[in-house]
Amino acid sequence: MLEIRNLRAAVDGKEILRGLDLTVGCGEVHVILGPNGGGKSTLMNVLMGHPKYEVVGGTITFEGEDLLGLKTFERARRGLFLSFQTPEEIPGITVENMIRTSMQAMSGGKVKYLEFRKQLRAMMTELKMDPSYARRYMNVGFSGGEKKRSEILQLLMLNPKLALLDETDSGLDVDAVQIVSSGVAKFHNENNSCVIITHNAQILKYLTVDAAHVLIDGRIVKDGGSELVEQISEEGYGAFAEAVDG
């Protein structure tokens, strides 16, 4: 589904991703681990085509198509979805307006309001979001946890092919982690894939992890299975950091 080859990307002239490889198959769940500042969010932004990040080398293909030639909205329409580490506040645009506009943009057709409302309400109930939030401006005045829930609400409503989740489980209370994790589990099936960035692995509770990768200093320095997640939560990144330095 997703193939990244020797990806190098820079921001403000500084190279952050320095030859990164990653392959994600259809139906798979991949976890990316790594210390702060390693380039995880940068990778997500580059995958979505953030204009600030300049790709200086390598390739990215999604379902066989070269992603690098596509604009952000085109990538989204191909089925990429990013749950942001820090979601933007968008004054004046309500949650329901934004999600419905996205759905219409993706499908290229009208999304009937009443059916949409019904579906949205159902999803919000599932995520234990107050339905009145549908009429609030997107993320404006939302708490950290509410913002993450609103990202998962969008994930469920838009139903993309590839979900990129950047620390969706950070800053959440115990109950919220539970809700968000089961939301992701509800989304996932054999026809879509997840790339999950996490520092605490709580979000993985209801998922079967197919592969884990350690990203340090703009490179994947270690690939493994779910055992890698446990190993790091116990031992930290020390061993890998040395590998990089050496």
Partner: protein, 466 residues
Amino acid sequence: MAKKTYVEDIERTLYDIKDEDRSVYKSHAGLTEEIIRDISARKNDPPWMLEFRLKSLEVYHSLSLPTWGPDISALDMDRIVTYVKPDAPMVGSWDELPDDIKNTFDRLGIPEAEKKSLAGVGAQYDSEVVYHNVQQSLVDDGVVYTDMESALRDYEDIVREYFMTLVPPKDHKFAALHGAVWSGGSFVYVPRGVQVKIPLQSYFRLNAAGAGQFEHTLIIVEPGASLHFIEGCSAPKYNVTNLHAGCVELFVKDGARLRYSTIENWSRNMMNLNTKRALVERGGLIEWVSGSFGSRVSMLYPCSVLHGEGARCEFTGVTFASRGQSLDTGASVIHAAPNTSANINTRTISKSGGAATYRSAVKVTKKASNAKCSVNCESLMLDDESRSDTLPVMDIERGDADIGHEAKIGRISEEAIFYLTARGIDENEARAMIVRGFVEPIAKELPLEYAVEMNNLINLELEGSM
């Protein structure tokens, strides 16, 4: 004379041609008593109105142009007569309208017949349309809604009592000009205690031939009564002459409520120098909802005089300035009685080199104990060439006044654009959504169909440039 109109770009050549022809105009130069008498006679004014016009003319000659605000030097006051001659050429036919104006009509989805009347072409205009819109039940309650000429004929006493008492001709040069040459406009009278439940709309009338330039609106809402009046026109009001100096006078009596909504969209050659004022008595409420689009220059600062104890004012405004435009808009409030309060909330947008200035004046007189006023103005600049200024003036004569002022000037956040495009929304639509979101607090004050029109206008303004 050159037929070309200068709707988007300001075409110097046009002025140059006029300059060469100056001798032709010379004989008509200046506004004379004769011209005023002629206007008055054509309109069958009662003698006192002729007197009023002539006095206004004197005042007009005694005043000079404002020395502040946007540049209006393109108005040649020596040839003011070419702007005010009652038979100044309107567009003769639909086909003579500039293409961009025709396109706007098309894009707004306005039907063919309406388009022609909206454009002020004239033949299609039918005043019956408006009168039929006044419900019989309102007529039975004594509500009057008619045009100013008819009002002057049928309700002469009322007109005489109020006409230009709130905006006296000596107020400024264009008020004086208005007093001398006014023509057309709306008259509304709501008797004591009558609640007009559905908004009265002047959608059509405003666009009647010759009525869009110096029109006078006079609304009187008697004690305890209420009214929502909408002056709306989403399509450009096109007039080959390029000065608009209308006047709106609103009288809100004890405990009465008036909501006055306008969405103005002028053709890009227009100097829009409009004066709007409300006098609010004890416990009364004036609500302004004001959308300013189009024009080359606008100077518009609706003023609320909170004259009775506990009188209130709510002002909500949006201004959109694009290439070649300088829109100087805002609001003014005079707290002249105890416990009066005002809330001013505006949004201005500038793009492609347009200049938008927000200008407010808040005055609290010695009599106005416990006055409360909160001003919130936000500006959005869509690019680096555009300009946005905020000029609040406060004149507070009391220590117990509670005055708040908040101003923000910003740009569209690239991160917000990225967020929306990451959800599959293309860049132009993302920008448009953000701009619409920016004016949402204003849009939600409008009746749905006008909110939709305002959104359409914003989309038209944004198109092609981003």
